[in-house]
């Protein structure tokens, strides 16, 4: 848990171990790094070919939560700050898309570009205030931000439509990607769009993980004071991480608005949004690349397939959360990491 380097075996092992056996394990490590991508793309292709509306909807829901959890991962998983107000940024993305689409009549590309930027700017404004504090205080402060956002969404009727929300968000007739034209009026088109979003965000995070920036964030997580004494201005790193998280959530919100074509305050409230994002990440494995997706598959996919009623679903959430915390504190992906560690080093990753 605490050993930072053991979490990125692909870099460390590849560079350090020379010789024949080193080459072998570097190869295995390379394959182990690419394999999840292949599985992901293959699964996406299979789902696309199956062409089943229900399967599409479930997959889109899974992807949406995975993207949100990936956003949270940046600030929580890497940096160790318990952001419990991501729902606010998710809601800002969705409401922004709804307003731009319904009231301003803008095409879909406008909110897709504008809303993440607005969320990032907001992150830069709020971040320096709330990131002065950490631990429980930070959690409660961000929770408050989420609650304030919910209150505004419910009460600023002129802008948000209050509890009734905003209806009539129109999807564009089709999106041309050069080689492929998506029919976004159909679920399959929206599914492809969701897949693109997931691949884009996960790819970005995969790149981000290897940057020095992410290393500094991990440093902040384990010992901020020491990092400061090394001369790092940690606040700016934290603020950027906070903004990235908000930005990703806003993008997911824009997608949500176009997918559901209706926004109201409820889906962005604490227990419907921020809490579930947190649960998905905690169950999947904070600080890992594939944790968000794994957590989302388990927590969004399973109740959907089992067709539980909403209350029972929450209970299942709670119980799964307990079990994961008690038995796999590193999240689901810690199981995979151990297996991978075994493949590479022929012994489990030291903890």
């Amino acid at each position: 848990m605490t050993n930072i380097l053991s979490k990125t075996p692909e870099v460390v092992v590849g560079d350090r171990e020379a010789g024949l056996r080193g080459d072998m394990s570097a190869l295995v490590s390379r394959i182990a790094g690419v394999l999840p991508w292949l599985i992901l793309l293959a699964t996406m292709a299979v789902i696309f070919r199956a062409n089943d509306a229900y399967l599409f909807t479930v997959s889109i829901t899974i992807i949406l939560w995975a993207v949100l959890a990936s956003g949270l991962n940046v600030i929580l998983g890497y940096c160790g700050y318990y952001h419990l107000g991501l729902g606010a940024f998710y809601g800002i993305g969705a409401y922004g898309a709804a307003l731009l689409s319904v009231k301003a009549g803008q095409p879909m590309i406008v909110p897709v570009v504008v809303m993440p930027i607005i969320a990032a700017v907001l992150g830069f404004i709020i971040g320096p205030i709330v990131l002065r504090i950490r631990g429980l205080h930070f959690a409660v402060a961000t929770l408050s931000i989420g609650m304030i956002a919910s209150d505004v969404a419910n009460n600023w009727v002129a802008l948000t439509g209050g509890p009734i929300g905003i209806v009539g968000i129109r999807r564009p007739p089709g999106i041309s990607l050069g080689w492929l034209t998506l029919n976004t009026r159909s679920v399959s088109g929206m599914f492809v769009l969701a897949c693109l979003m997931l691949v884009f965000i996960t790819g970005l995070v995969a790149y981000f993980r290897r940057t020095t920036f992410a290393l500094v964030l991990r440093g902040i997580k384990s010992d901020e004071l020491q990092l400061r004494s090394f001369g790092f201005k940690t606040t700016i790193y934290k603020v950027v991480a906070f903004s990235i998280a908000g930005s990703v959530a806003a993008l997911a919100g824009v997608y949500y608005a176009y997918f559901i074509q209706f926004v109201s305050p409820e889906p962005f409230s604490f227990f419907s949004a921020s809490f579930q994002i947190f649960v998905v990440l905690a169950v999947g494995g904070p600080g890992t690349l594939w944790g968000p997706l794994l957590g989302s598959i388990l927590l969004t996919g399973l109740p959907e397939i089992l067709e539980l009623d909403p209350q029972l679903k929450l209970i299942v959430y709670g119980v799964v959360l307990f079990l994961v915390i008690a038995f796999f504190p590193g999240g689901l992906s810690s199981i995979f990491e151990t297996v991978r560690g075994r493949l590479i080093r022929r012994k489990p990753t030291p903890r």
Binding site: Y82, I129, V130, R132, I133, G135, L136, H137, A139, V140, A141, L143, S144, I145, M147, I148, D151, V152, N154, N155, F270, F271, F275, F278, V279, A282, Q311, L312, L314, I315, Y317, G318, V319, L321, F322, I325, A326, P329
Partner: protein, 283 residues
């Protein structure tokens, strides 16, 4: 003046829940978000016993207190003390898991309709032109009495001294041979029992429903952050202050944004006094 009274009544409930949470949070170091659920359980139990089974209010108070006490000890021994290794994060996640399970479970069993415990004294007295229901007076007085009692307990008894030692430095306390687990369960039990009593009192003057616990927990956390960690009188004052802020904001600015005022106030406190309003004086 009526706003002051309304604020103090609501604030007394925040104070009662806040001070229990202060005890738990400073002694056991568990960010127990399930604290408000015990308030909710106390209130719902009161509704069940008094409204549906026609038992007396005193009995409901006792039942609420004992149920919360037992649940609190159970939380401590069966859940939180087993998650020690996972640190504050694991505890936070576990307590949030408890919140959803309790809330969803109660909704399944009892529905989510707001109900009030009947049979509270309905008289009101007039103080300086404001109408003060006797029940509110009782809530306010019990908040003050419990705060003083808890403060005295922590300050002047042997067990209280142990708890203060644990709050100050858990490692050193353990090294001194203090049975940590026992005292943690005790602090959890006392704090939770207060939440149970607060729940029944709350239900006697405000409607309770299954989903009310989460917002009460949140208010309690706001109160202890206001007050600075580990200060019981701070929790009393902080709770009353939060009630007043909400009441005045609600009636002078906009009633829809009632909760927002509390949160904005919290953010301001965190901005200017990150250690809490009363922290400097306490240390």
């Amino acid at each position: 003046m009526q706003d002051v009274i309304n604020g103090l009544a609501q604030g007394s409930v925040y104070a009662l829940t806040g001070m229990g949470l202060v005890l738990i949070f400073s002694v056991v170091r568990v960010p127990n978000f399930a604290h408000g659920e015990l308030v909710m359980i106390g209130g719902m139990l009161g509704v069940l016993l008094v409204a549906d089974m026609h038992l007396s209010i005193v009995l409901a108070l006792a039942a609420g207190m004992i149920t919360a006490l037992v649940l609190g000890i159970l939380f401590s021994t069966a859940i939180f003390s087993r998650l020690n290794k996972q640190g504050e994060v694991g505890q936070l996640i576990a307590s949030l898991a408890l919140v959803v399970v309790i809330q969803a479970g109660t909704t399944m069993l009892r529905g989510d309709d707001p109900r009030i415990i009947p049979g509270a004294p309905s008289e009101a007295i007039i103080i300086a032109g404001a109408r003060v229901p006797v029940m509110w007076l009782i809530i306010f007085l019990s908040a003050v009495v419990f705060a003083l009692a808890l403060e005295a307990y922590v300050r002047y008894t042997a067990t209280g001294r142990v708890m203060r030692a644990m709050a100050l430095n858990p490692m050193a306390a353990k090294l001194m041979g203090i049975p940590i687990g026992l005292y943690q369960a005790m602090a959890f039990g006392i704090g939770s029992a207060l939440a149970g009593i607060a729940g029944v009192l709350y239900g006697l003057s405000f409607p309770v429903q299954a989903s009310v616990g989460a917002s009460i927990s949140l208010k309690a956390f706001i109160v202890i952050i206001f007050a600075g960690m580990g200060s019981i009188t701070g929790a009393l004052i902080g709770g009353l202050l939060l009630g007043l802020v909400e009441s005045f904001g609600g009636s002078y600015l906009s009633s829809g944004y009632r909760d927002t005022f509390g949160f904005v106030f919290l953010l301001l406190v965190l901005l200017f006094r990150p250690n809490g309003l009363f922290a400097a004086r306490e240390q």
